[in-house]
Symmetry: C2
């Protein structure tokens, strides 16, 4: 039986504490990871634990790192992550951006010296929960995307996220990799022995392929959103470039194209970007949120192709997952569960999941 959200979260926190993470850091990191699992973003929750364990063991992510502000103005902060995992500095940076935005109307916090921060949407949503617009993005560690017309991996999944508050209490939450699909969906096709649809992957020569093993195991690539030059993959590629300019060039983190990326002395040195905007600098907040609610309601009311599958807006699938999983618990595949149990045992963390 799936564990409850509270137990799932407590298990994550117990492992992080056992890894030597200070209480406050473990609390924040567990909250970000369990939020992802609760909201159906399974790729960014507990499934990250084996990867984080590898980073920790190899000394590439310090467990006791604490972020600090190295430069700031009334509208901005540059945060150094101190070489730890990304969740704590990301949470810290968005908190700073929100605080400043509430005073001056808008603010950006960038982060350098960080690592994987979990689901970008978590941080954008922090702003929306405070009545602000939130934007977040991050550079990636995995380099697996070839630019349009190229046959060499240069970019990652480089996600972009945007959230806005709505008068009905249901925020808009976009959280998207700038690739056509995430690596996990390709892996699922391979596991089922199915070909990948047109537009998902390229082979090592940069040619379109339907082989689900081509991107990871045969030197090929994920495609940028759009999928092919004919279907405007330059747009997904352009968005990924924008993400890296905002997350790495503004903060001074290493460039994803730099041979030293993820190999610097201070850890992964991934960069993040967080922005908060108070709509009240333009209109009464209520007027803004009423328009957002009206607009999203109009979109949801679009005549559906199939009445059984109504039109949604970004975020809606996540709220549905959260409702179900808060009620029924959070499912974890047996393979992952075994891996995480071994990791917990090795760290002498209590085991709470069965």
């Amino acid at each position: 039986m799936p564990a409850s959200y509270a137990t799932h979260r407590a298990q994550l926190k117990a492992i992080l504490l056992a890894w030597g993470m200070p209480e406050a850091n473990a609390e924040t990191t567990a909250d970000v990871l369990s939020w992802a699992d609760l909201h159906g973003v399974d790729s960014h929750g507990m499934s990250m634990i084996p990867g984080y364990d590898a980073l920790r063991r190899s000394g590439r992510a310090k467990m006791d790192a604490r972020p600090n502000i190295v430069r700031e103005t009334p509208v901005s902060a540059l945060v150094d992550g101190g070489g730890g995992l990304g969740h704590v500095p990301a949470h810290f940076a968005m908190t700073v951006a929100i605080g400043k935005a509430k005073v001056v109307g808008m603010a950006i916090a960038t982060v350098r010296g960080s690592a994987h921060f979990g689901a970008a949407g978590y941080y954008s949503l922090m702003a929306a929960r405070q009545g602000l617009i939130g934007m977040s993005c991050t550079s990636a560690s995995g380099i697996q995307v070839a630019p349009t017309f190229g046959k060499q991996a240069r970019l990652g999944t480089d996600p972009w996220s945007f959230a806005a508050p709505s008068a009905d209490g249901v925020p808009f939450l976009l959280d998207m990799a700038t690739t056509t699909v995430a690596a996990g969906r390709i892996r699922n096709k391979a596991n089922e022995g199915l070909p990948t649809p047109d537009g998902w992957v390229l082979d090592a020569e940069g040619q379109a392929s339907n082989d689900p093993l081509v991107a990871k195991q045969k030197g090929g690539f994920l495609t940028s959103l759009g999928g092919s030059p004919e279907n405007s993959s330059y747009k997904g590629y352009g968005l990924a470039t924008m993400v890296n300019i905002l997350a790495s060039c503004l903060s001074g983190a290493t460039l994803i194209t730099d041979p030293m990326h993820t190999k610097t002395p201070r850890g992964m040195d991934i960069g993040h970007f967080f922005m908060a905007i108070d709509p009240a600098i333009f209109r009464a907040s209520d007027d803004f949120q009423n328009d957002v609610a009206q607009f999203l309601g109009d979109l949801r009311a679009t005549t559906p192709i199939d009445p059984a599958r109504p039109v949604m807006v970004a975020g809606d699938p996540q709220w549905k997952y959260a409702e179900t999983r808060m009620r029924d618990g959070i499912p974890v595949g047996s393979g992952l569960l075994t891996q995480v149990r071994h990791i917990a045992q090795a760290a002498a963390a209590p085991w709470l999941l069965d």
Copy 2:
């Protein structure tokens, strides 16, 4: 023989003046339109003149409108376009945002009561030319995109643009519709008697189609970037929603889903969003621009699939067009030229193009 850039620009200005546009407004509007034609964005330059003429004749775009700031803070301005075309208020708003960003580090100007503003990239580039990051987006008038899983037009091409300055003087410039392709590319397929590739259009029932006439003439739709649910069209749909929240909900322009959109007493009432960010609030500007130059250079140096077609970054195709057309003149199709000549004659504007 194609007219020179200067003559092409002068022709546009002459028509705008003949329409009763004040000198300063005509100067700005002609600059925006001729910039598009110079940079190969043919869909947003002279080809807009017939559409603008129709708006003018029907009284839905005033030629003597002047934008004014209705609300502002040190980091923001809300601009009312006064019911004219969008170029002048857009140029005004980005100028205000740049001015404020130079003082406080970042600023946003939103615009309501506006209309079509030409190419979004023009405004983002204004910021990049001043050493700042620029972002621009706008709501649309044409409603021709069905949300993912829907079969009813709710959204437009809803473009997003981002520009960043680079130490080598060649800015990054992304300017993209959030649809898979623009309507013009579908029209070209129809003109050639060719089917549209998979992922470009949907029929009136929301099913994938390869009929280039389906979207405009048979009740069908353009697709959101991604092209199909399987290829993540929810991402293009989500970006379009973001664009409308920023451009319309923040400014208070009518929602694209509102039955009164483009039918309000004060004109089209389209909304725009412009942001400028000074990288110097995070790092020395030179360090930022050096990293951008390095990153874009790394991307251009990606091993190409075909050595004859090197990897580019967003903006590169436009700079190439501008170089060629500044040298060889700006080609205008004979059909468009005839239309514009009639419009010039009807307005008693001088004719300079042949």
